[in-house]
């Protein structure tokens, strides 16, 4: 089974800004995709399909999809290139397949059963697997996270859902002290094959207590693996890898990405597909500047890269996929090629993921840097509610463009224009 290489057509759109287009792009698993010979899909004319250094050569010929045309199930009996799948469906299908494959896997959380999941990620699982394997809990994060850990000590493979990762703060003692540290404290006797998943980071207008990004907090704890998928393929592959992994994994999703569709190769739809943990993906190759991002910001970075392309700056966008272990090799190799770095994240700036990337690059590739590292993060304030303030509190595409130009020593204003 070969790993997925770079996919081609991620034109990740910041969902908040593109809501008007959602009605067109409402693909689901069962709807056949009608494409022309260039692989351009119906309804996607507004996005510019960027290919990997090759122009419009058609989606699937570059990717591995056609080369590994699988024995398909009845769902996939159309002849055109790749399918589209929402992140929600990707997560749901990954959970479904893993629960079918291993009876030790069970899902536990608030509203995962009869409500079909607070964000419908676990839709249909209760009917398929029953209430013993899809467990609705009372509102007791500390309690059920600990129960998950205790059951993992004995070899079950729980998938604990937090309605948002903000609520994981009530259970953080168990994530860190009884899950992350246990294999070490017991000197390898007891490992904890648990997955903590849920939406992370800001959504739209949900206020300060529902908008924090926890990538940096969990990313600093030895004993945890922290994954941050972006596209549907990421979501499927990384969740499957996380469930099969014998260690505790914190799986940070994004609420606004749930409804977004991404093309998935046929290989990704196979039930034994999974992605390696700790490897970043170069979403778009470039030679002038490296932009690292994770989760929703990958979409923004890709859009920023398109804008920069028009101005003559070729940006390389790295989708981190994994905050812990951080793929320092890929990041450093990219910086050594381009000599400039912009890190993008939605979390708070101090001690953030970007800070760690910057330190890693300074330690390993200092001589290769032609400009100071630009760090873009959320504003150093609790998230405001008002829509215009919230927009200012999180990175926007213009911020990334400006930072990239600054790193390339083009004259740009420091602050955003009044909006």
């Amino acid at each position: 089974m070969s790993m997925t290489k770079e996919s081609d057509t991620n034109d990740g759109i910041g969902a908040r800004q593109q809501t008007s287009f959602r009605s067109i792009v409402s693909h689901n698993l069962l709807r056949p995709v009608i494409g022309n010979s260039f692989g351009v899909k119906e309804g996607k004319m507004w996005g510019i399909l960027r290919q990997k250094a090759g122009g419009f050569t058609g989606v699937s010929s570059q990717g591995l999809g056609l080369r590994l045309w699988p024995v398909t199930s009845a769902l996939r009996n159309y002849s055109s290139a790749t399918k589209e799948m929402t992140v929600r469906d990707a997560l749901n299908s990954a959970l479904d397949e893993e629960m079918a494959a291993d009876p030790n896997v069970f899902v536990m959380g608030e509203e995962v059963g009869e409500y079909q999941g607070a964000y419908k990620i676990t839709k249909g699982l209760l009917d398929k697997y029953g209430p013993e394997r899809v467990v609705d809990t009372p509102i007791t994060e500390a309690g059920f996270a600990g129960i998950g850990v205790g059951s993992a000590y004995h070899g079950l493979r729980p998938v604990i859902e937090f309605m948002t990762f903000n609520f994981s703060m009530q259970a953080i003692d168990h994530i860190i002290n009884s899950a992350a540290k246990s294999n070490y404290m017991s000197a390898g006797q007891i490992n904890v094959p648990i997955v903590f998943r849920g939406p992370n980071g800001p959504a739209a207008g949900v206020g300060a207590q529902h908008s924090q990004c926890y990538g940096a907090w969990y990313g600093s704890v030895p004993g945890l693996k922290v994954l941050v998928p972006y596209s549907s393929e990421d979501a499927r592959g990384l969740l499957k890898a996380a469930i099969r992994d014998p260690d505790p994994v914190v799986f940070l999703e994004n609420e606004l990405l749930y409804g977004e569709s991404f093309p998935v190769s046929a290989e990704a739809l196979d039930s034994s597909f999974c992605l390696p943990i700790g490897k970043a993906k170069i979403e778009r190759e470039g030679k002038d500047i490296t932009i690292t991002a994770f989760s929703k910001m990958v979409g923004y970075a890709l859009k920023a890269a398109e804008i920069l392309e028009k101005e003559g700056i070729s940006a390389e966008v790295i989708n981190l996929r994994s905050i812990r272990p951080l793929d320092r090799a890929t990041i450093n190799a990219s910086v050594r090629k381009t000599n400039r770095l912009v890190t993008v994240e939605e979390g708070f700036p101090q001690h953030g993921v970007g800070a760690e990337i910057c330190a890693s690059v300074v330690e390993d590739s200092f001589g290769y840097l032609d400009a100071p590292v630009e760090r873009i993060a959320g504003a150093d304030v609790p998230t405001p509610y008002a829509a215009n303030l919230e927009r200012m509190a999180f990175p926007q595409i213009e911020d990334i463009v400006r930072a990239a130009k600054r790193a390339c020593y083009r004259a740009v204003p420091m602050a955003a224009s009044a909006s």
């Binding site: 079918a100 309690g143 996270a145 007891i190 039930s271 700790g278």
Partner: protein
């Protein structure tokens, strides 16, 4: 082995409000707990009102259940008696040796000793099978010993040597043993309770989902009086009763949480009452008497094994030493300490065994001597063991050999076609 003359009736739990007078919370005559026999007897011997709790009258350390049994229907056989006695002596000798070693500098950090509470550990854990699990707090040396972890392994762990049960990486507060199903050793109070509930959940899951029909493993969660005020405790009482998990919540109420008296910290000091509030029996037992504890434990563990759900057992006990070896222990009244010292569980059991002619002085002395040798041997072993090698620092962070999803053959595990377990049908 049944001790009561009548049939043992375990009635289903009814959620009735406790109708008790507010100034006598310890006195019980509530109907909700369903353990007949010794429990009711022993509660009536403890007529202490809450206001007089601190200066309770001396309770003679004789098991009054034994006194009742003049018809030779003894509480335990000779083997059981000697086993329990040896376990308690081992706990006491081990902890005393820990104190000595600490003051000699061989042990360091936080060390919390269990002197005085041995009856709870021996009374409960000696009734368990090897597959049953025990989850404890930082005061876990004796729980590990009772469950079967060798004294050598525990002592080496305390010395920080690589031959310890956790290779020196856990320490005093984090005793783990996969072989003996000791699931820790947690420093945060209340942290072990959800983990224990999870272990009990696994038992039920294995029975119902994985169809291992005879899986009746029980989990014991040990914790203290201070923990009974913690949110996680209540969350787990709720879920354990809701899902009828095979767990026994054992409260070792030694009246003090470091320097905070239980009465100063708790609105209603009767912890056993919190059980019925969540729909499970709540039992209060004299934790200085191993025979009473054993009776209650048999009932509670039996209930859990039969699938009838959890039980909350409050053991009134006392720690003879301070909270930890660094605790000057100035706040406790010396009279209180003297009173409880007179109720030393080991002395009580010794007296019982001799008076009921289950064992002779010589046999008990032989056991004490044997235990002394075991403990000394453990110290020697630990002393001579090597400290962990430098390479051990970075080991065991992940179960994954290289932490990145990389398998033993050096390739990413997800590349391996056999990585899928079973067949997925979507």
């Amino acid at each position: 082995m049944s001790i009561s003359s009548g049939p043992k009736i375990i009635r289903p739990i009814t959620l009735q409000p406790c109708n008790r007078s507010s100034d006598n919370p310890i006195l019980s005559d509530h109907r909700i707990t369903t353990f007949i026999g010794s429990t009711r007897t022993l509660r009536l011997t403890q007529s202490i009102s809450s206001s007089q709790r601190r200066s309770a009258s001396t309770i003679v350390a004789v098991s009054d259940v034994a006194k009742r049994k003049s018809n030779k229907n003894l509480l335990l056989t000779k083997e059981e008696g000697l086993e329990v006695y040896e376990d308690m002596i081992l706990g006491r000798a081990f902890e005393d040796m820990c104190a000595q070693m600490y003051y000699r500098g061989k042990m360091f950090g936080f060390v919390h000793l269990y002197n005085g509470q041995e009856a709870v550990s021996s009374g409960f854990i000696k009734l368990l099978k090897k597959e049953d699990s025990v989850v404890s707090t930082y005061r876990d040396h004796v729980h590990a010993l009772s469950k079967g972890v060798p004294a050598r392994a525990v002592m080496s762990e305390l010395f920080g040597k690589t031959t310890g049960c956790c290779r020196g990486q856990g320490g005093s507060m984090h005793m783990f043993s996969a072989e003996h199903n000791v699931l820790g050793g947690f420093a945060f109070i209340g942290e072990g309770i959800p983990v224990a509930t999870g272990a009990a959940f696994t038992s039920k899951y294995k029975r119902e989902v994985l169809k291992e029909a005879d899986c009746d493993h029980v989990t014991l969660a040990f914790f203290g009086d201070g923990t009974a005020n913690n949110g996680q405790f209540f969350e787990c009482l709720n879920m354990a009763a809701l899902w009828k998990l095979p767990i026994v919540f054992v409260v070792e109420n030694n009246l003090w949480a470091i320097g905070m008296s239980h009465l100063r910290a708790t609105s209603d000091p009767a912890i056993w009452k919190k059980g019925p509030a969540f729909g499970m029996p709540g039992v209060h037992v004299d934790g200085m008497d191993v025979l009473k504890v054993r009776e209650v434990a048999k009932d509670a563990i039996g209930r859990a094994r039969r699938g009838e759900g959890p039980t909350l057992v409050e053991c009134e006990t006392y720690r003879f030493r301070g909270h930890s070896l660094a605790d000057p222990d100035e706040l406790r009244d010396p009279n209180e300490k003297a009173r409880y010292a007179a109720r030393d569980p080991i002395t009580a059991l010794k007296k019982y065994l001799i008076e009921s002619k289950l064992a002779s002085e010589a046999e008990l002395k032989a056991i004490e001597k044997k235990v002394d040798e075991v403990v000394e041997d453990a110290v020697e072993f630990a002393d001579e063991s090597p400290v962990p090698s430098r390479s051990q620092l970075l080991e065991n962070v992940f179960a994954d050999p290289r932490g990145f999803g990389i398998g033993p053959d050096g390739r990413y595990r997800c590349e391996d076609p056999k990585f899928t377990q079973g067949t997925a049908q979507v």
